[in-house]
Subunit: 458 residues, 2 copies
Amino acid sequence: MKDVKKYIEANKDRFLEELFSLIRIPSISSESEHKGDMIRCAERWKELLLEAGADNAELMATKGNPAVYGYKNIDPAKPTVLVYGHYDVMPVAPLDEWNTEPFEPVVKDGYIWARGADDDKGQSFMQAKAFEMMVRTGQLPCNVKFLLEGEEEIGSVNLFDFLAEHKEMLQADIILVCDTSMIAQDTPSITSGLRGLGYWEVEVKGANRDLHSGIYGGAVANPINVLCKMIADLHDENGHITIPGFYDDVLVISDEERALMAQAPFDEERYKKDLDIKQVHGEKGYSTNERTGIRPCLDVCGIWGGYTGEGSKTVLPSVAHAKISTRLVANQDYDKINQLFINYFEKAAPDYVTVKVTPCHGAAPYVSPLEIAGYKAAEQAMTTTFGKRPIPTRSGGSIGIVTGFERILGIKSILMGFGLGSDAIHAPNENYPLFNFFTGIETIPYFYENFVRLMEEK
Amino acid sequence: MKDVKKYIEANKDRFLEELFSLIRIPSISSESEHKGDMIRCAERWKELLLEAGADNAELMATKGNPAVYGYKNIDPAKPTVLVYGHYDVMPVAPLDEWNTEPFEPVVKDGYIWARGADDDKGQSFMQAKAFEMMVRTGQLPCNVKFLLEGEEEIGSVNLFDFLAEHKEMLQADIILVCDTSMIAQDTPSITSGLRGLGYWEVEVKGANRDLHSGIYGGAVANPINVLCKMIADLHDENGHITIPGFYDDVLVISDEERALMAQAPFDEERYKKDLDIKQVHGEKGYSTNERTGIRPCLDVCGIWGGYTGEGSKTVLPSVAHAKISTRLVANQDYDKINQLFINYFEKAAPDYVTVKVTPCHGAAPYVSPLEIAGYKAAEQAMTTTFGKRPIPTRSGGSIGIVTGFERILGIKSILMGFGLGSDAIHAPNENYPLFNFFTGIETIPYFYENFVRLMEEK
């Protein structure tokens, strides 16, 4: 690859302007009022792919938000890279904690500030610009397909069917995903494993109406107190999850492998300082990296019930709700965990309340081998641009469709992401360093070059 | 007293219209946007007192919402009754559970439906109309003072100082309060005891920002999970409150008195059916009436944290909140309980979160003797209009200022309320039966007549 840096330097401002045009569309997939924005965002991606040099690009129907599919064929004898990304973003609440408008991107202090700046508009857009660079400088070494979906943040619920319906169209030798993080700007890493996900909404109902907390308090079950007890009982004093059978299938990592993983740099003091906490907290007997990498966990993502306004309303509420998620690790099966979770809440429910569990979405965990051409191509590409060999890491996050790619299409995914832990994805003040954005665009063409070479050497 | 029923019958429609003019003013004391409505409501009360026959009525400043004070003097040698009520109401959320507009009163099926229909606009207005009847028919047997406050639902925070500042002005022989409930329409009762109240807001803070639940989940404390555990630990498996020292001062009721109380009619099946619950639930070893009458309790009135919108946002939140109240019984001291509560949350807080407790308001419990003239006057009045001797009961609710009246003014209060447990006060679809409203107006003049006679017999 020649003149990559030069091309980026010459087009920097345009790259940002184009990215911002994507960011400005509030494509929040979990909020139904944004249905129209999903279409607008997909249409914008189609235009950007065509402008970047795709032979064709179009919106394709799924049972939910449309997918954007584009491609450029140069030679059927050459390998094919399938690019995956998502154009939907997370909700922005609580709005009052943002320092800038979430959908009006701002560049400040070397960062892009906006919802989607990293996850995944910023990261997936790097792939489009790397592709453009290779096309316009005549250096594209293989065929390319682009698949951008609009439902990743709600579990890619309809993309699994889409993959099954379009198996032929989507055939490729490797899938490149930019939707994960590195250890640090000076410590590149590649995600070799992802946790799976289970997400449920739990409703606990007491009396048929809100009651006066004086007249009924002490004699009628309070659904908030009951829900809190059920949630508290989900962990024992060692931070183990108490749902019977929950750990049965968890892949036990050997002591040797744990020792190897422990060599990844981790500065606990800096980690705590960044989060402003006195202590980390998790399952007894595991390090912070192990707690997020190789062990499952269970978190309440949201809880609400009773009076939450200003002042002190004395009420014994009728109903309480919680959104609870679990992250699954290698060998755990979502369907089985889903059943265990529902059983637990139904069994633990005392007879003075009624409990309803609604599964929201689930995703299987994923592990990618370090020996395949795709991983090596990414490793060498990052070594070229960062000057350091990247470390393989297990991410605590989940990208459900990655297991779908393997199961349905039979294709492995390479998770070469350029985000940082401090990017505040899914949170107020999401950001993405310009350094990571431009270095990402620079790295991707080397991945293509290395991958084609390694495939042809085989 | 003569022609009470006839007077009411002739003025029924006007009484309702006047009451509705009070109800239509959304005087929610806990929401600052209603500051102007508080003044409007106080002004309307002033007009109504003057129209009903008061010598004078005026708004008087407190450090918060104004009090309305009015009086009619007929003879300094005669006893004086001080009427207490409140013109503020509870918030109306959740609005979508109301069948009618909360501040547009509707009469349907023999009930008035509106916020404040019972608590306390409907009940305090009965006192104004009973007063009017006695004045206009020339039967008022004593001096009368009216005190209506605008902060009862937020703990009468400024009325205690007001009492101390206006001790002389407020001197009286008895205070009559209509702000409580009877056992049933065919089972009159008088509240001889009230529980006290403590109310706190608890904030649990983890990391300094909302985190991605995959990347950090399992390694950083989740403030919702921690708050749930702290709340769950507030009760043991027998429903006892675990805060050290909490029960130390609780008045132990003798077995004889418990046996007497147990004679009050209570239909548990009907109670459960009304609330649509399979089981009642509370402290082991006590009946439902004991649980709300003679035992303290602790309830979460509201809880919130993390993502509570539509869909499934995976987030490890930064902060969680709860509003927690306790009801206190005879001999428990709010200031002591307040300190125990704060200590408990500070001590129970693990070092991976920070916990802040904000006391919102407190009120002492109250017990009134059955032998005094005021209680007997009320008992005889209800016997006249209901045809049955009322039962003395202990209410689970709290009217903080009633202990203030005793402590600061040295005057006992008679809690002759005409509400029902089914009136849904503090909840959506508050209502008040027309039967109770008109029978209340009919009963109050007999109270005056009996009280003056009993005082003069002394």
